[in-house]
């Protein structure tokens, strides 16, 4: 609906057109036939879930990657930038997510580093500073350019980064998640600058995962999903709910309750009051990470945490498991107030946590499968109550069998396992400790469908045996299928808790779109 309308409109000619862009990586089709246009004097947002292909598309545009096929036209002339520098020379300027500036140099030096104006072979400081002031004036920013960059806020530093990449020949400005570390006032400050540049005729490509900001700043939205082009829309013609539905690849009318979901709802109604409380969290919060939240988890409960990327799901899990220390609130395990100051105390209280970042926070690639499995259990028993090798092998073999982990043997290196099997390995590590509460952050991400279903099956079985599970997934469908209740998060705030008949994808989306 909105798509046809957008394409049919008569508009000024685009400054940039990318047509039928394809990009393969080994084993993954990152982009397939993606179209993208950019108009002068507009802010264009690219939206999509993780892995939708946003950053790959931008990297093709900026010459970091080369497309397998497809063409790019800049002002109707074909371009093939083969490096970020080449792209910059073509007038495509990029500010990356992590600011690539030198905090211990002055603002002016940062703007002109590598191209300082010279006079008689020496840096002409007077001219350098004058030109820096002028360049910043273009953004209506006035600061003392001789001060060290680190003495200014992140927002100002962002603007310096923008000024640095912009020069007279810039026609396109790409901003990759520029607001992710800014507070509300700073975001508005940055938006003012972006609007000014837009009104000057620059074409701006804006990548963010904040829905509200997309609506505040963008004129046009392109949606990608799984590397495919979903559509291009004018922002005012695309309701927020439609945007979410399209990012997830669902038509609103298509939302249906999966069979398993129905089962869970009946179970959750049946559960009633006799279930024992495993976990009660009261007003737990950490300033800057997540607003205070409360939740409870009974025996056999699966509490789903639903929200978009960056909504605070992981932060919630990390606070409960003691990875980050809360600055307010309390945690009760089995009704007893428990001081959880580190993962170790959480583990001793009977919790387990599988991180979303398997590689850097979960798996020990160079240790064996056996060692990966018994590690937490051994930690729980204590360093000197050694589990003999034979017993370790028994434990490992049993879990390898019951979770169907595909490995040549318990003594093979864990790094050789596939993503799905590494995920199961982390689960096995915690199951070996016999926890009462299991927190799973994106256990189904980046693994194949078969392994996904196995893990979801496992979650259901564990909860039927009385374990309490907190389940985080970007796929709302999975959350609903596994959970007895769903907590909805948005912009670092828990905004609702849905249970029973309220649990549906459309309901979650409505909550996210409409919530505060």
């Amino acid at each position: 609906m909105a798509g046809e309308e957008a394409w049919g409109m008569s508009e000024s000619t685009p400054i940039l057109e990318m047509r039928k862009i394809n990009k393969h990586f080994p084993g993954v089709k990152a982009l397939s036939d993606v179209d993208f246009r950019l108009f002068p004097g507009e802010v264009h947002a690219i939206m999509g879930q993780n892995g939708a292909g946003k950053s790959t598309l931008v990297k093709v545009l900026t010459g970091v990657y080369k497309q397998d096929s497809g063409e790019m036209l800049l002002e109707d002339r074909p371009i093939r930038p083969d490096s970020p520098l080449a792209a910059q020379k073509l007038g495509i300027s990029t500010v990356y997510q992590e600011i690539n500036l030198c905090p211990n140099l002055s603002v002016a030096e940062n703007i002109f580093v590598g191209r300082q104006p010279l006079s008689l072979g020496r840096i002409d400081w007077g001219q350098l500073n004058r030109r820096a002031v002028e360049a910043l004036k273009r953004l209506n920013v006035s600061v003392d350019v001789t001060q060290m960059l680190s003495s200014y806020s992140i927002a100002i530093q962002q603007m310096v980064a923008i000024v640095r990449v912009l020069d007279v020949s810039s026609r396109i400005l790409i901003l990759d998640e520029p607001t992710s570390s800014l507070d509300e006032a700073e975001v508005e400050q940055l938006f003012k600058v972006i609007r000014k540049l837009r009104d000057d005729g620059l074409a701006i490509l804006f990548i963010t995962h904040f829905l509200d900001q997309t609506y505040r700043i963008s004129d046009r939205i392109t949606i990608l999903k799984n590397g495919e082009f979903v559509g291009e829309y004018r922002t005012e013609t695309l309701p927020k709910l439609d945007l979410i539905a399209r990012m997830l690849g669902k038509e609103l009318s298509e939302f249906s309750f999966a069979m398993a979901g129905e089962d869970r709802k009946k179970e959750s109604q049946k559960a009633g009051q006799d279930a024992r409380s495993l976990l009660a969290v009261k007003d737990l919060g950490l300033r800057g990470a997540i607003a205070p939240f409360s939740l409870s988890l009974d025996e056999g409960d699966v509490l789903g945490l639903a929200g978009l990327l960056g909504s605070g799901r992981t932060e919630m899990a990390r606070l409960i498991f003691g990875i980050d220390s809360a600055n307010q609130g309390e945690i009760l395990v089995k009704g007893r107030k428990t001081n959880i100051k580190a993962p170790r105390s959480a583990m001793l209280a009977g919790m387990g946590f599988c991180s979303e970042d398997r590689k850097s926070e979960g798996i020990f690639a160079e240790l064996t499968v056996r060692e990966n499995i018994v590690l937490a259990l051994q930690g729980r028993k204590g360093t000197f109550r050694y589990i003999p090798k034979k017993k370790q092998l028994e434990i490992a073999d049993e879990l390898i069998k019951s979770l169907a982990i595909k490995t040549p043997g318990a003594n093979n290196e864990a790094g050789q396992l596939s993503g799905g099997n590494q995920q199961k390995l982390m689960l096995a590590r915690w199951l070996a400790t016999n926890p009462i509460i299991l927190i799973l952050d994106e256990p189904t991400r980046g693994i194949d469908v078969g392994a996904k279903l196995e893990i979801m099956e496992l979650i259901l079985n564990l909860s039927r045996q009385g374990m309490g599970v907190i389940f985080i997934s970007s796929e709302f469908e999975e959350v609903i299928r596994c959970s007895t209740r769903v907590a909805v998060l948005k912009d670092k705030v828990k905004i609702a808790e849905l249970s029973g008949e309220q649990m549906s994808e459309s309901n979650i989306m409505h909550t996210i779109a409409g919530g505060r």
Binding site: R344, L367, F384
Partner: protein, 340 residues
């Protein structure tokens, strides 16, 4: 062929081959290198000398192996050797008649306590403050010599208390006494790391400290105790060094020993990137270094050239042990075969 393949993948084989090559070289070019004589009930010979002179580095390498396995480094061990020597010499005292000021056992215990404290200081900086290991231990690397000088009033103290000489010069059942110290420390460390969960935890911390913490293991504690243990080893090494020369010299005791010890660990197959560690490998590494030194002396190489020769051999050994290098060489030969 298959057996060789399995063997070549085990980490201990390359340091052993290197040691073998060095020995072979000596067999042909150094007269009497392998001769061992029995004199007054003691064994004498080049091989015995290598073991005896290598003992201080071997002891250091035991502690450093664990530190390096945590993806850390301790460059202060040489200075801690000087502290240990300084403390024990001060407490025994330079009485010409050989009467110790305090009981020798007490003096040795005090020196070890001081060295464990030094190691704990390093451990605290690395684990609780989160300092980078090379910087954290650099502090004691510099300050340690100062501390050693202060304890000895900036003098070289000569010792005459005979019983103390046992550690570095004495013999037991025909073998140098220091070898029993090495053997005891090695066995104890092996048992503690491999017959409890300590070894697995150390390797886990070295491979992925974050995941270790997330698995509910006290990663900081592990780090802390590894550095403390390295301090203890440096202390024992310092006692042996002091006893060998019966003097404590704050400037020279253990000077540059940290570099030899680190080299021994790396030659032994433990990666500076942390993870899997090989105590026996480190011992072989220390012996390689000592054999090299002894060989160079046996050839009467001028001291200024000796360092260069040593560097070249170490360079060659490092290349031999590098998997990337071996793969590349193998690749070159494979291509040539195809071309032929």
């Amino acid at each position: 062929m298959l057996a060789w393949k399995r063997l070549s993948r085990s980490k201990i084989i390359w340091p052993l081959i290197t040691l073998g090559i060095l020995m072979l070289f000596n067999l042909f070019f150094t007269p009497n290198f392998f001769r061992i004589e029995m004199l007054e009930g003691h064994l004498f010979g080049n091989l015995i000398d290598i073991l005896k002179n290598g003992a201080p580095i071997m002891i250091l390498a035991i502690g450093l192996t664990l530190v390096i396995a945590t993806h850390g480094i301790d460059i202060s061990v040489g200075s801690v050797v000087a502290i240990s020597a300084g403390v024990v010499a001060m407490l025994i005292g330079g009485d010409l008649a050989g009467n110790p000021k305090y009981p020798i056992a007490f003096a040795m215990g005090a020196a070890l306590v001081a060295c464990i404290a030094a190691g704990m200081w390093n451990g605290m900086l690395v684990s609780w403050i989160g300092m980078q290991p090379i910087i954290a231990t650099l502090i004691l690397f510099v300050a340690g010599r100062g501390i050693a000088m202060v304890t000895t009033n900036a003098m070289v103290i000569w010792l005459y208390a005979k019983p103390f000489a046992l550690l570095g010069q004495g013999y037991l059942f025909g073998l140098p006494f220091s070898l029993y110290i090495v053997a005891f420390l090695l066995l104890a460390t092996y048992l503690v790391t491999r017959r409890t969960a300590v070894g697995m935890f150390i390797e886990a911390v070295g491979i992925n400290p974050k995941a270790t913490r997330f698995a509910g293991i006290n990663a900081r504690g592990i780090l802390f105790w590894c550095y403390a243990f390295s301090g203890l080893c440096a202390g024992v090494s310092g006692l042996v060094v002091c006893s060998t020369v019966m003097s404590a010299d704050g400037n020279n005791a253990g000077n540059l020993a940290e570099l030899d010890a680190i080299l021994a660990v790396v030659l032994g197959g433990t990666s500076l990137n942390g993870g899997r560690f090989f105590l026996l490998g480190s011992m072989v590494g220390a012996l390689i270094i000592q054999t090299l030194t002894t060989t160079i002396y046996a050839f009467n190489v001028a001291p200024e050239i000796a360092q260069v020769v040593k560097a070249l051999v170490v360079y060659a050994v490092s290349l031999l042990q590098s998997e990337t290098f071996r793969a590349r060489v193998a690749g070159m030969f494979a291509r040539r075969e195809v071309a032929a």
